[in-house]
């Protein structure tokens, strides 16, 4: 008895590392299905994921990982963006010098700027491609209509985010791209002029505009984007995971290994009685851990067996996508430097003065008609995109690429995509001084 009391401080010291570890991570590395389930369930970062995920959702050829890549690019942008903020000053007299400092004196400065720049371009492209994936697989059909709407909003915020960042280096490219871009906005009926004035804080692009774009770029828009991303992700779960064809659930269930496992300490068990009830259980049993969730995915006692545990299947897939994304950004940043032109000279607009590449389709349209090209047609396009899930109500062909049943919808969408891509290509490569047609060869 006395021996036991004596050894207590020593014992708690010996157990200290393990106790700390266990207080942070509630579960040991899972070795059973129950463990896998409760690991997903009890870890803050992992619990954003479902405990089980359908095999179809894990197919790289179905999602191409585009949504994840977009999110990871955003993550890279937040990290590199915050680091760049330590050296950046949103002032017309200092901003450009700070760009030169990033090149010359700041450790890894040029590399961080490259990463931020290329990840930003990449995010615009990947978010757009993600939208194409969702459309061409018919994944906006009920109950996922509103998540499509959120996705369109995310695309718009991403574009605005990139656009506000474009001004910050305060070089010729930045200044004239924003001059052209904000003038396009001023063509909006009634509110256009006011909108431009509020956005720029002045009648022309200057110090006020730089400060405003900076605040939008580093605070307002990231907050909006994060909130929308959170709702977007949350809804994926609540709408029953990624879309998949009905037939998927009818496919034969692959044989599962049936093993008898001893239930580890169940964290979810709320009472000693419940813990006692969790005696040796059969591996194949489906735990109704998620509770009742609307939609076709999770029903207590009726979990589709074409699903696998998120740990490790989903998490490994996500890790791989993350590593590929980071590797891609690092590689591009090592090979190519972010452009930096001459400092702003309002007397000498470059000829031609071009907007960022993703707005060059818009600028090409604008060269035909300022109102229709810059406001009218884009406005209609955005409105149609927002309304897509409410116009197309047919439920056939969900969860498959280029489903035959969706020939009309897919053709219309592809036409929209191709026309815009062609306009961007014309604006980028085929327009020279005075916006006259030139041949790039």
């Amino acid at each position: 008895m006395s021996n036991q009391i004596k050894s207590r401080p020593w014992k708690s010291l010996v157990e200290l590392p393990e106790n700390i570890w266990r207080s942070i991570f509630r579960n040991p590395l899972p070795s059973s299905d129950l463990g896998r389930a409760s690991t997903s369930f009890t870890n803050f970062f992992l619990h954003l994921h479902p405990v089980k995920v359908h095999r179809h959702s894990l197919r790289a050829t179905f999602t191409l990982g585009l949504g994840l890549i977009a999110f990871f690019l955003f993550f890279i942008l937040v990290v590199t963006g915050i680091l760049l903020m330590f050296y950046y000053v949103p002032s017309t007299t200092q901003a450009y010098d700070r760009m030169l400092d990033l090149r010359g004196t700041v450790a890894f400065g040029i590399f961080l700027r490259n990463m931020h720049r290329w990840a930003a371009h990449g995010m615009v492209a990947v978010v757009f491609l993600h939208m194409c994936r969702v459309f061409l697989t018919g994944s906006y059909k009920p109950p996922r209509e509103f998540n499509w709407v959120l996705g369109v909003l995310l695309l718009l915020v991403t574009l605005f985010m990139s656009f506000t960042g474009y001004l910050l280096p305060w070089d010729q490219l930045a200044f004239w791209a924003i001059t052209v871009g904000t003038s396009i906005a001023s063509y909006a009926p009634l509110v256009g002029k006011e909108m431009k004035f509020i956005l720029l804080g002045d009648s022309t692009v200057g110090q006020e505009a730089l400060l405003r774009f900076y605040v939008l770029h580093v605070a307002v828009l990231p907050a909006v984007l994060s909130l929308l991303i959170a709702i977007h992700f949350w809804r994926i779960r609540k709408d029953g995971g990624l879309s998949r064809p009905e037939e998927e659930d009818a496919l034969p269930v692959p044989p599962a290994e049936v093993e008898l496992v001893h239930a580890p300490a169940v964290v979810m068990a709320t009472s000693p009685a419940a813990a006692a009830a969790a005696e040796p259980v059969l591996q194949k049993r489906n735990y109704g851990i998620q509770g009742l969730v609307r939609g076709p995915f999770t029903k207590v006692g009726n979990v589709p067996d074409r699903s696998v545990f998120a740990w490790p299947n989903l998490f490994m897939a996500e890790l791989v996508v993350f590593l590929i994304t980071v590797a891609g950004v690092l590689l591009v940043s090592l090979l190519f430097n972010a452009p930096l032109e001459e400092p702003v000279n309002i007397m000498h607009p470059p000829n031609p003065a071009k907007a960022p590449w993703y707005f060059l389709g818009l600028q090409e349209q604008v060269s035909y008609s300022a109102f229709w090209g810059g406001v009218g047609i884009p406005g209609i396009e955005v409105l149609l995109l927002l309304l897509v899930p409410y116009i197309d109500r047919k439920v056939a062909g969900v969860g498959r690429w280029f489903a035959r049943e969706r020939l009309l919808a897919n053709s219309l969408f592809l036409t929209f995509v191709i026309v815009n891509v062609i306009l961007i290509i014309i604006g980028t490569f085929f327009r020279g001084p005075n916006w006259e047609f030139v041949s790039p060869w």
Partner: protein, 161 residues
Amino acid sequence: MKTPAKPTLEESGDAMTRRRLLSWLSGFGLFGSLIITAFSNLIFIKPRATYGQPNRFSIGRPDDFPSGARVSLDERRVCIVRDGDKIAAISTTCTHLGCIVAVSETGFSCPCHGSRYDQDGNVTGGPAPRALPWFQITLAPNGEIEVDKDTEIEAGNYLRV
């Protein structure tokens, strides 16, 4: 004679009970505050004073501009045109997308999207939707020319000096 008992206001259902009135009022109040909040934010971010270049400025004496001169003051975004004893200030901000138009032989041309204007600022080609505006120009008591970019005047209204 006995009249049939009328249902009281509360029983009939469409009456304004106290509870209903209060919830209606508080809902109105909350919604109203939301709108006022949004509106005041909008008022807040619209600047009352700008810190950039003033829209009224003097550009020197008339003698600085010889007859036939077409001097583009790019920083002011205005072109001073003198023809004999007539002088005028024409905007050099392209009406299309806000680039600075360059003075050319035939008038003005925009480097961004190829808009072209004649000597008086009328559109002769390209996507520009309207002519370059003319600004009011006055002779200040000290003999200097003052341009007021807040006041647009009709094209062809010269100041005689």
